[in-house]
Amino acid sequence: MERDGTVTDEDPGPLVRLYGLTGGRARPPGESFDLVAIVTTIRTPFELPGLNPEHHAMLSICRRPTPVADVAAQLGLPLNITRVLLGDLRREGLVNIDPPQPANQTIDERTYRDVLHGIRRL
């Protein structure tokens, strides 16, 4: 399967194949969560029927708390597919998904300066 982060073009094939991963689901099970919600792996089972290689890759990535969008970027998967698979992991109790704080509540003076500095440094 192509994993170059691009799932576009006229050919619907790749998208349809990718949706095989989710059994055709476009929405995650359970409560919805943001594209920048932080995902943290709680435990990695040695074996769990029903987990595919993408699920396992996600568990490995999220040992370090990682935003949903970044999991998608690292695996080159569409955001919504990533979200469905992460929803599966949450349902199995393997990951925590923490809703992000609204930016206007998160940003203190230090964060603000860091963000400005971070952009300028690029």
């Binding site: 576009t8 949706y19 476009a26 943290t40 709680i42 708390p65 955001l79 919504n80």
Partner: protein, 195 residues
């Protein structure tokens, strides 16, 4: 708790907080949204085709009408790492009006938005401006200087779009890194001053 395969405890007590901030890049068709995300992202920007409705379930979010047709929308996003535990995500919003609900999700809790405008067809940015004003989400209008000229007067753009005095208007070239950095720092400063 299972001991087999146990990895790490849940972050607790706020010692380990990871934060991801969202910035939206909006504007009319072909105005440079994808270009802007690509210019500044430290990762190869993802351009994904997102499926929005379940195949076979048959209820389309957009209309509530039964449909078997899969609806897809193209999304761009990029990332800037600020600190080990702090990221900035740029989302290029889908241009078509029928994807407003997608904007609602992206805008929720966002730091702010960049509305890209092209002076040759300024009206194309009106829906985005209206949207963010209504939402009270801080935004800046970035005039993408397609012809390379700097002759566009920000004051004229402000008047034509009907912006209040506090909303910054900046000239930019979405292909130019320094220029995009300018736009983003202006937005962040504006967003913080608005709190």
């Amino acid at each position: 708790m299972e001991f087999a395969g146990f990895d790490r405890p849940r972050p607790s007590g706020g010692t380990l907080t990871a934060t991801a901030l969202k910035i939206l890049i909006a504007g009319g068709f072909g105005v440079g949204k994808t270009t802007m995300v690509g210019t500044i992202s430290e990762i190869r920007p993802l351009h994904t085709e997102e499926l929005l409705s379940d195949r076979g379930v048959g209820v389309d979010d957009l209309s509530g009408v039964e449909t078997k047709v899969a609806t897809t929308v193209a999304l761009d996003f990029g990332r800037i790492t600020i600190r080990e535990d702090l990221w900035l995500y740029l989302f290029g919003t889908p241009g078509q009006d029928r994807f407003w609900f997608m904007w609602d999700e992206l805008a929720l809790g966002a730091l702010g938005a960049v509305v890209l405008a092209d002076t040759r067809r300024l009206q194309d940015c009106f829906p985005a401006v209206d949207y963010f004003e209504q939402l009270k989400l801080p935004f800046v209008v970035a005039v993408n200087c397609f012809d390379g000229a700097r002759r566009h007067d920000p004051a004229k753009v402000r008047r034509a779009v009907g912006l209040d005095e506090s909303t910054p208007v900046v000239m930019c070239d979405a292909r130019n890194r320094a220029s995009v950095k300018d736009v983003l720092t202006t937005l962040v400063t504006h967003a913080v001053s608005r709190r």
